[in-house]
Symmetry: C2
Subunit: 216 residues, 2 copies
Amino acid sequence: MKRERISNNVIRRLPMYLRKLDDLIYHGVDRISSGELGKQMGLTPSQIRQDFSCFGEFGQQGYGYRVTELREQVARILGMHKGFTVAIVGVGNLGHALMQNFGFEEQGFNLVAAFDLSPDIVGNMISGVPVYDSSTLSDWLKNNPIDIVVLTVPRNIARSMAETIADCGVKGIWNFTNIELELDRPDVRVENIHFSDSLLTLGYFLAEQDNMEKRK
Amino acid sequence: MKRERISNNVIRRLPMYLRKLDDLIYHGVDRISSGELGKQMGLTPSQIRQDFSCFGEFGQQGYGYRVTELREQVARILGMHKGFTVAIVGVGNLGHALMQNFGFEEQGFNLVAAFDLSPDIVGNMISGVPVYDSSTLSDWLKNNPIDIVVLTVPRNIARSMAETIADCGVKGIWNFTNIELELDRPDVRVENIHFSDSLLTLGYFLAEQDNMEKRK
DNA sequence: TAGATTGTTAATCGATTAACAATC
DNA sequence: TAGATTGTTAATCGATTAACAATC
C-alpha cells in the first residue's frame, strides 16, 4: 500500500466502484477478479488494482476480491460510516425531489432539517424531516452543527446564502445553483452539480456527430 | 489549429469557459488575456491557449481575446445553435424542477414535450410545455423525432424506459436515474448525472479532513 | 517602435497500462 | 502442486506546463 497523495481521478472512481459492487451483491456475486470487474466497468484490471492499492490490500492472490468485503472497504474509504449530518436549504421542486427520492440514509448521510422562505411549507414535515424558516437558519446552525448543506436556492440568493452558511461552521456545501461559488474558504469544501455543464457536454457530442454526418 | 481527437478533459472544460465568459459579459468585460482568464478560473494560461487552439485561433497576439467573440465560438463548438429538441420523461419533483427552473432555451435547447404516468398531471402545461401520457411515448417519438430525452423516472423502470427510447431514434439520453444504463447502443449517447457519486465524493473529502484532525 | 500576448513546439509531469515476482 | 490472480515496480502514454518565435 502506497501512502501518497490520492489523485482526483481515483477519488471520483470510488463511488463508481461502490455502485458496481452494490449491484454485484444484489445479483448474488460474492467473488470477483480485477479482470472481470474491469470488463464489466470498462476499466483495465491494472487500473482497478492500482486504485485499490492506494488504500490497502483488499484482495487475495489467486482468488480475487470478496465482493461484500471490498464493498465495505470502499464504503469506509468514502466515510459512509461517519454519518455526516445534512441540512437542505431551499425546498423548491429540486430540494423536494432530493428529500423525497435521493435516499440520504442509504448513502450514509443523516438528513436532519430543511429550510425555506415560503410560509406554505415552513412547519411541514417532508419525508420525516422538518422544514424551518430560512430566517432562523443562521441561529439554528450555530446551535445544531451540521456537516453538509445542500444548496438548492434560486441563483440570485445563492452566493449570500453560501457565505452565511460558511460562516456557521459547515464543512461542505453541495451546490446545485449552477454558479461558481468562489468562497475563498479553504475550510469549506464545495461540490458542484452543474446541470448545464452536463447537458452542454451531451450537446457537444451530438453536434460533433451531426457535423460528421454532414461532412460525408 | 490542430485537428486531432479532442480529449474528454478539454470537452468538459468547454461549458466552464462558457459560464465564465457569460459572467464576464455580464460584468461588462470585453477583452481578456489567457493570463487573466487563467487566474480567475484557476487554470494555467498555457492550458487555456492549448484548449482553444484545438478548435481554432480565437485570440489576437498582443491583445488577448474579445470576450463576446470567444463566447460565441465556445457556444458554436458546443452546438448551442443547433437547437436540439428535448423531451422529459418522468415529471416527478425532479422533472418538474428541470422544466420550471433549468432554462433549456437559454442553453440553446428546445424543450417540446413531457411524459408521465400520473393522470393528475397528464394534460397539463408546465412552463408552456404539454405533459402527455407515458403510454403514448413510443408512438409520439416515432412521429416527432427528438434529439435528447431527459430521463427522470423512478429507478425500477429506468432501464426498460431507456431501451424503449433508444429504439425510437433518440440521439442522446440525459440520465438522472443513478443507474448505469449500459445500452450497448453506440448510436445513443448517455450523459449521467449521478447525484450520489457527487455527494459521496464530498463525503470522501470531509472524511479525509476528519481523519487528519483525529490523527493529530 | 516597444510591449504584450498569442499559437505552437518542446519539456515535464502524472496517470494509465504492462509485466512479473509473490503467494493464495 | 498447478493455476490464478494479486500488489507493485517499470514502461508507456497522454495531458499539462513552459518556452519562445510570430505578430498585433
